[in-house]
């Protein structure tokens, strides 16, 4: 295709003809010249963002199908469809039309399930992708802004999921909205009015489903599309990072050309992701709305939980201590709701701003395109582990009741343990992970200096037994030692001879980050160790 030019038209048949036609109208040759052989590094963990992207495409496709039948109205009707245990029941049109999609339209239930499974997968893949980016330090300069864009996409994913979860107007999602209503009411001063604005009056009202529907099918996906475009645009500008290794530097990118290898792999991967979602949707039930019944404010089902990505906020609500409500004069301050909200928001803000914090502490202004091995940045990896633990405890907090019944322990003990674990868990996770990283680095250093243990024991002429260590080839060696250590910074007086608070804080943080470190061995050290080994032999 790339050899099709404006001059040699009519040669090479249909394909060349088409290429020529397109080039003369949209300049496709230039685009191909620029991007056709762009190099993409190949690693399994680089595909996670793609999983999220493809799930989003599946969401758009399956969601469009669903909009052809779904009616976002809360006007009550009597169900006359074919699901027997609801025949004759009063319900909203939204719920009835969702039942009709499930039980009257061939492939309707399949696509509902495709849509819901891909929603769960979208947020999960985006989350895992963020963890990959975090632990490998891919958020460092010049990618800090793209980290924030990705973070916004993750939050938009949650928003899209939440607005969709509430649409069928079944008992489960209705109780979810009830909880949102309660949380909003708990916001000081504006709570009750905000809830009224959202629901168009008192809860549940007849407006919320249509309003969430507008957000769900227009604003949220449009924003996601825009941010995906920005996210990918920046990937093109920066070019993809690559893992540390021989031949991989900050001023090159090593991998496969877009055409044909990457097109085949990534294109094929889209079909694989869609195929996997389709297979799961065909075989596993998700959100069986018919089992929950129409929304009614009086009943509730045991195991009322949000979808997984909202779970951590629900868990935060559950783990709030008892009696956290205070009166300020005549006004009620619901700290049992505010604290979880604030803690949740704070956690998100820290996640969003982490790259800037770390850049300030290291003072490193260089561009980084070679990824860190997680073990080589013990404090960052420890912080990541602490963050995962914090999130995971909140998440598990949303399923205390299921944990209690499944492991036959007391619900109350589970909740109390979670409250303790929420504080203790992240600290323990940080310390254990950091220590583990440092040990791994020491082991790497040891191997770099003395070679790999072979398990072969030989007896030397003078009677000594030693294990033979096999020296490493230069490629393997570079994988172990090709990283940079950072030194803690001391608080230094500035030009005026004053040690500012800012510099003190920075020194404390710097010490926290880099006090414990393992420096990669230099050439000289390796050579010395080698000679030493020879002497011994």
């Amino acid at each position: 295709m790339s050899n099709a030019t404006a001059t040699d038209n009519k040669k090479g048949g249909f394909l060349a003809g088409t290429a020529n036609y397109l080039d003369e109208r949209v300049g496709v040759a230039g685009i191909l010249k620029e991007f056709g052989r762009k190099v993409f590094p190949d690693h399994w963990s680089f595909m996670l963002g793609e999983v999220a992207l493809y799930s989003f495409l599946v969401l758009l496709l399956s969601g469009t199908f669903l909009t052809f039948w779904f009616q976002p109205s809360m006007v009550p009707v009597i169900y006359e469809g074919s699901y027997a245990p609801l025949k004759g029941a009063e319900m909203s049109i939204a719920y009835a039309s969702t039942l009709d999609i499930s039980f009257e339209i061939r492939g309707g239930l399949l696509f509902r399930q495709v849509h819901h499974w891909s929603a769960l997968l979208f947020v999960a893949a985006a989350g895992l992708h963020m963890l990959r980016v975090f632990f490998t330090g891919a958020f460092r300069k010049p990618r800090e802004i793209n980290w924030v864009v990705g973070f916004v996409l993750f939050v938009l994913g949650m928003a899209g999921g939440f607005t969709g979860y509430s649409l069928p107007d079944d008992l489960l999602s209705g109780n979810g909205l009830r909880i949102i209503d309660g949380m909003i009411k708990g916001i000081p001063y504006i709570g009750a009015y905000t809830s009224s604005l959202l629901f168009g009056g008192e809860f549940p009202g007849e407006a919320i489903v249509a309003r969430l529907y507008s957000l769900h099918i227009m604003i949220v996906p449009a924003l996601i599309l825009v941010f995906v475009a920005v996210h990918l645009f920046m990937v093109v500008i920066h070019k993809h990072t690559h893992y540390a290794g021989p031949g991989k530097r900050d001023d090159n990118v090593v991998g496969y050309p877009l055409m044909p290898v990457y097109v085949a792999k990534a294109g094929g991967f889209f079909f694989i992701v869609f195929g996997v979602i389709m297979l799961i949707a065909a075989t596993f039930t998700i959100n069986p709305i018919w089992a929950y019944g129409a929304y009614d404010p009086s009943p509730v089902s045991a195991g009322t939980q949000p979808d997984w990505y909202i779970g951590w906020l629900d868990g935060a609500l559950r783990l709030a201590p008892t009696h956290m409500e205070y009166m300020i004069g005549d006004f009620t301050l619901s700290l049992n709701i505010l604290i979880p909200l604030v803690v949740g928001i704070l956690f998100l803000v820290i996640v969003a701003l982490y790259p800037f914090l770390e850049a300030w502490v290291t003072g490193d202004k260089r561009e980084h395109h070679v990824l860190d091995r997680p073990r080589n940045t013990p404090v960052r990896t420890g912080i990541g582990a602490a963050g995962i633990t914090f999130y995971a405890v909140l998440w598990a907090g949303a399923s205390t009741d299921l944990i209690a019944t499944h492991f036959q322990v007391s619900l109350n003990h589970v909740l109390t343990s979670m409250q303790i674990l929420l504080i203790v868990g992240p600290i323990a996770a940080y310390m254990i992970t950091k220590r583990a990283c440092l040990s791994l680095m020491r082991k790497d250093r040891e191997i770099a200096l003395h070679g790999r243990e072979t398990g072969r024991v030989v007896r030397l002429p003078h009677g000594e037994y030693i294990e033979v260590h096999e020296p490493m080839d230069e490629y393997e060696l570079y994988k172990l030692v090709g990283y940079k250590a950072y030194e803690p910074m001391l608080a230094r007086p500035n030009a005026k001879g004053v040690i500012t608070l800012r510099s003190r804080i920075r020194a404390v943080l710097s010490r926290f980050y880099f006090e414990d470190r393992v420096v990669p061995p230099t050439k000289g050290e390796i050579a010395a160790a080698h000679d030493h080994g020879k002497e011994l032999h």
Binding site: R106, F199, G200, P246, D330
Partner: protein
């Protein structure tokens, strides 16, 4: 990127020496040995392997056709039969599995093709600093300066400031139109359908309940009389008025003096709407007399004015004062004396 900018970028990379911060740049660090030598695949070495791989790829694509065709067949061959759950299940399963393998086979085939038959030697491409070259940056600044000069943006203060003002004000009409999304709640959150003499009736059919119906250990899910017949706002009223009715041994009720006559012979009625975030607190444990909210596990002691004994809720559930009318039916003495459900800022403010 043009060739010109490429050559410029080279020079500029050397030109910009960014701070390495606290990174230790050891002069004696182990040098990058360059890319590892390429390892030759079986499909590159042996024609038999190459042919087999090609056949596998083609077979996968053919299998995809068969699967997709099967999905089409399933769409017609397994229709949905009115009232038959199993038919929906079959339709979903077979249509889905066909479509799934139709896609999986394409994907696996394409990836297999790329891995075995397309070149697998990694290539290296140059990468440049993200910042523009000095020349580009100078030109950019020049353009901004020129635009500033030509428009007089910095110079004409009045224009600039009035523009800021206009930009600050123009979104306000766009925001104010959202005020009609919902009414000011006023005191609607503070009243329910319950009033003096309203009978307690069974949820959902509205059958009135006699005191003698409520035996010890039993629990009734209650709505006010007339709710089931409401034409409008049925769910809104139900969301506030739902009540749980329980009878316990009167001797274990710890009742304050003012609430002494709110119960009837051990029968007590409490709001079912959690004071935490509003889930129905519907789980009644007959032996412990505890009410548990299934959403966030707030636990209330029914015998002690529904005091919170566990979980995130802060306030007891509001109690509905009840009595018995002449015919023996349970009736409300009055509305709740406080707003039901989740707390809000002005819940204790009296208009």
């Amino acid at each position: 990127m043009s060739d010109k900018s490429k050559s410029l970028a080279k020079a500029e990379d050397a030109e910009h020496d960014y701070s390495a911060g606290l990174a230790v740049i050891a002069p004696d660090a182990v040098k990058d040995p360059g890319m590892e030598p390429h390892r030759v695949r079986m499909t590159d070495k042996s024609e038999a392997h190459e042919k087999r791989a090609a056949r596998q790829v083609a077979a996968l694509f053919l299998f995809s056709i068969v699967s997709s065709a099967f999905a089409l067949y399933a769409y017609f061959a397994f229709p949905i039969v009115e009232g038959s759950n199993a038919s929906v299940r079959d339709n979903t399963l077979l249509l889905g599995v066909g479509a799934a393998f139709g896609m999986l086979a394409i994907g696996v085939g394409a990836v297999h093709w790329a891995k075995t038959l397309m070149p697998d030697a990694e290539v290296s491409e140059a990468r440049h600093q993200t910042r523009g070259s000095e020349e580009t940056r100078a030109r950019a600044i020049e353009i901004i300066d020129l635009a500033n000069k030509e428009s007089g943006f910095s110079r004409r203060k009045l224009i600039r400031r009035s523009l800021y003002g206009a930009l600050a004000f123009f979104p306000l009409p766009g925001l104010i139109v959202f005020a009609d999304l919902g009414p000011n709640p006023g005191d609607s959150l503070k009243h329910t359908m319950w009033k003096k003499g309203t009978r307690l009736t069974r949820d959902p059919d509205g059958k009135p309940i006699k005191a003698s119906d409520v035996t010890i250990g039993s629990v009734f899910h209650v709505i006010p009389e007339g709710l089931a017949e409401l034409e409008h706002h049925k769910l809104e009223e139900k969301a506030k008025a739902a009540v749980l009715l329980v009878r316990v041994d009167p001797s274990i009720l710890k009742e304050s003096a003012e609430r002494k006559d709110w119960s009837y012979d051990g029968i007590v009625a409490y709001s079912k709407i959690c004071t935490h975030v509003g889930c129905p607190v519907a789980l009644y444990e007959q032996q412990t007399h505890h009410l548990l909210c299934p959403c966030h596990q707030s636990t209330f002691d029914l015998t002690d004015a529904c005091r919170v004994v566990f979980g995130p809720a802060a306030r007891p559930l509001p109690q509905l004062p009840i009595a018995v009318d002449a015919e023996g039916y349970l009736v409300a003495q009055d509305d709740f004396n406080e707003p039901v459900g989740p707390s809000f800022w002005e819940r204790s403010v009296n208009e």
